[in-house]
Symmetry: C2
Subunit: 424 residues, 2 copies
């Protein structure tokens, strides 16, 4: 079962699909050359939105959960990619310490951990779970919904190393996005591999940095394919240090929104898109889905302020071109999510929401969603089929754009690496 693209204007996306398929060997080589110069994040997932007239990543998660939604057919790919990743980072590796997020009592999240443990065990590692929760003093048994259990253990920090009781890992894998900063127990671990690096945590990431990196890559990629980068790149602007409680802050934002909406309108006109564009305003930092504004007119800001809408916190605000999602599963909005380990696409699924709109954030914590696994043939494009007609071709295109977001994360982490700055 594959979601339908419900839009009359699918010409541009079909053309993009065709170009991507025709250029497959060139694209794969292009990525190969990118990875010669840049290190892929250990693992990540990218949320995409397909508007028919454009396709763009809207989030790149460097601590992905949801591995449990990958199908059994996809698992061997994940294992193989994990083998390749470990071989490069620490071929002698024997033990892997996995540090989960705090939501360790959700049965979905536990299933995600179980899947990650299965993948890395099969890739040749002894995997154990260590908790960042300092109040955990004894190993805790976490029963799994489908039977079996996991064991969460207290961390044991010695001078230069982090481990568990009788467990000294060579590599520590974070599945915790560190929204509240870097805990002391993770600082100054110079003898072990800590993945992803600490500056990938949400307290340090800036969305604008990722978007700048993505824009750079989208331009290079568009040049390779001979197409307009706008087809895969949402425009954005940054308002540094805005306080919406003050008049000056409101004015500054209004002007940025006006400018960006104008730019988007011109693009819509160029492509004959008869829709009303929108922009999304969100804080440049943090992963929270709260305080995100969707605006179709700069004047809406006033109305929202008067209505007492939840506002983004004071600080840098990002104004981003909104990309509607036109994929539908029955009547529900569907958003593809691509999963990657090392440089490889290992699978993906659709996040399906019945109650959200086409211009809303679907990755809402707590909100129900139906994961819909990609067809197993997602990795096998059929170059002879006509654009828009083949699920494997659509999924291959998603894998390419997902990898573009992953490459942007790699550029982003290089640009923000605190240790690299020491050499400047």
């Amino acid at each position: 079962m594959v979601p339908h693209l419900i839009t009359s204007l699918s010409g541009p996306i079909n053309e993009l699909e065709q170009r991507i398929l025709e250029s497959m060997p060139a694209i794969e080589r292009w990525f190969r050359l990118e990875w010669m110069e840049h290190t892929p994040p250990f693992y990540c997932s990218a949320d995409l939105r397909n508007a028919g007239f454009k396709l763009a990543p809207v989030d790149c998660d460097l601590f992905p959960g949801g591995f449990n939604h990958l199908t059994p057919e996809m698992l061997p790919l994940a294992v193989q990619a994990a083998m390749a990743a470990i071989e490069k980072i620490c071929p002698e590796a024997k033990n892997l310490l996995l540090i989960p997020a705090e939501q360790t009592h959700s049965s979905f999240y536990l299933a995600n951990l179980q899947q990650l443990i299965a993948v890395f065990t099969q890739a040749g590692l002894n995997v154990r779970l260590g908790s960042l929760d300092a109040s955990l003093k004894q190993p805790q048994v976490l029963p799994l919904a489908e039977g079996g259990e996991l064991m969460l253990e207290p961390l044991l920090r010695t001078r230069g190393r982090l481990g568990l009781k009788n467990f000294d890992p060579c590599t520590i894998l974070l599945n915790h996005d560190l929204p509240d900063g870097v805990p002391k127990v993770l600082q100054n671990l110079h003898e072990q591999y800590l993945l992803p690096p600490l500056h990938a945590g949400w307290s340090m990431r800036r969305k604008s940095q990722h978007l700048r990196s993505y824009e750079e890559l989208a331009k290079k990629f568009a040049k390779l394919l001979g197409m307009d980068p706008w087809l895969i790149n949402p425009m954005h602007a940054l308002c540094p240090q805005v306080d919406l409680r003050e008049r000056a802050g409101q004015e500054g934002l209004r002007s940025q929104v006006e400018t960006l909406l104008g730019k988007v309108k011109r693009k819509y006109k160029e492509y004959g898109i008869n829709e009303r564009p929108f922009v999304v305003v969100k804080p440049d930092t943090g992963s929270s889905s709260r305080g995100i504004l969707t605006l179709r007119d700069a004047k809406d800001i006033d109305a929202l302020l008067q209505a007492g809408a939840e506002l983004p916190a004071a600080g840098a605000l990002l104004v981003q071109e909104g990309v509607p999602t036109y994929e539908r599963m029955h009547d529900a909005v569907a958003e593809p999510v691509v999963y990657m380990i090392d440089r490889y696409v290992v699978g993906g699924f659709y996040r399906v929401h019945a109650e959200r709109g086409i211009d809303e954030n679907l990755a809402v914590p707590g909100s129900a969603f139906v994961p819909l696994a990609f067809e197993p043939s997602a990795q096998l494009p059929r170059r002879s089929e006509k654009p828009g007609a083949s699920a494997p071709n659509r999924f291959y295109m998603y894998g390419v754009i997902g990898r573009l977001a992953m490459a942007a994360a790699s550029y982003e982490l290089e640009a923000t690496d605190p240790e690299a700055e020491a050499y400047d």
Copy 2:
């Protein structure tokens, strides 16, 4: 559908399966360390035989055909492995020249080529076919049984490079096992990557060298698992320079056969195997399945000679412990074949013969066989299931033994590398 193991004596193989599953992370790490020191062959396939009381590879093909028998579920793994292989050998690679075997008019072999082309195209290469047939002067269209066609082109040799008209490859991949020696057109290609290396061709390989390398690895592996290496290693002996037309040659062979049969009998006694052991006599060189003798008694040699049996050609003869195959699909003998690219198992299938015996060679050219793809979950062992009860577990074990044969091929190619000798 999974073949049944038809034997009352499956205890040793179930124990082997259990040990392999329990030691999974250690085994994967062991391979990872092996590949730090040794280069895997670019691709290969290994024929295995499961006797219930032992499991052993009986052939390791360094120019594997039959990629067409891999299922669509396995293809993404092959693509990912091909990406990893290319990245290591020549990351800038744009063009790949594939040189097929001479059997290019068999529709099965054409399907194999088509699959190889699909895998390497998706891994980011432009792939074209060049023929070793010097009489081919114009491109030849080869129609495929399922529609479509392939194009076979004449090779174009310039001083240091090999290519096609308007096609200069960085890498040349042989799917031709060079039984008649190395053609001049392939000699002295120092500017391009030629894979596998020329000394992997059948005119230069010695089966005894492979078996010695395999024995060395089987011993190391058995030590890791704390088991008898005989469970995965067929014993063998080499008779150098035997001429069976002469009395002295017959005597020499008889004595070797007697000694080896004696050793196998002692092993059978140790394990309580109530069967009559056999040995297989074959030339140390060449890949032909002709002139292979199956002997249960040293005296049988005389009877065979009197009956005018087809004899192995004069030269070095290999005497190898016979491993019966007890896997059955309905009433037919089934032999698993494991396919590998770079260091990864990418799939496998069963070669099923209705008309061959348990002690006969199933890889008979021209003989009909039914390929039976491994279940898609072959890469996903279930550690909790009891030995012998789970197809994924059996296939995982086959993948481990297949990789052991691949590692042996790697040792073998290092030992016989003519360029390495220059440094001695």
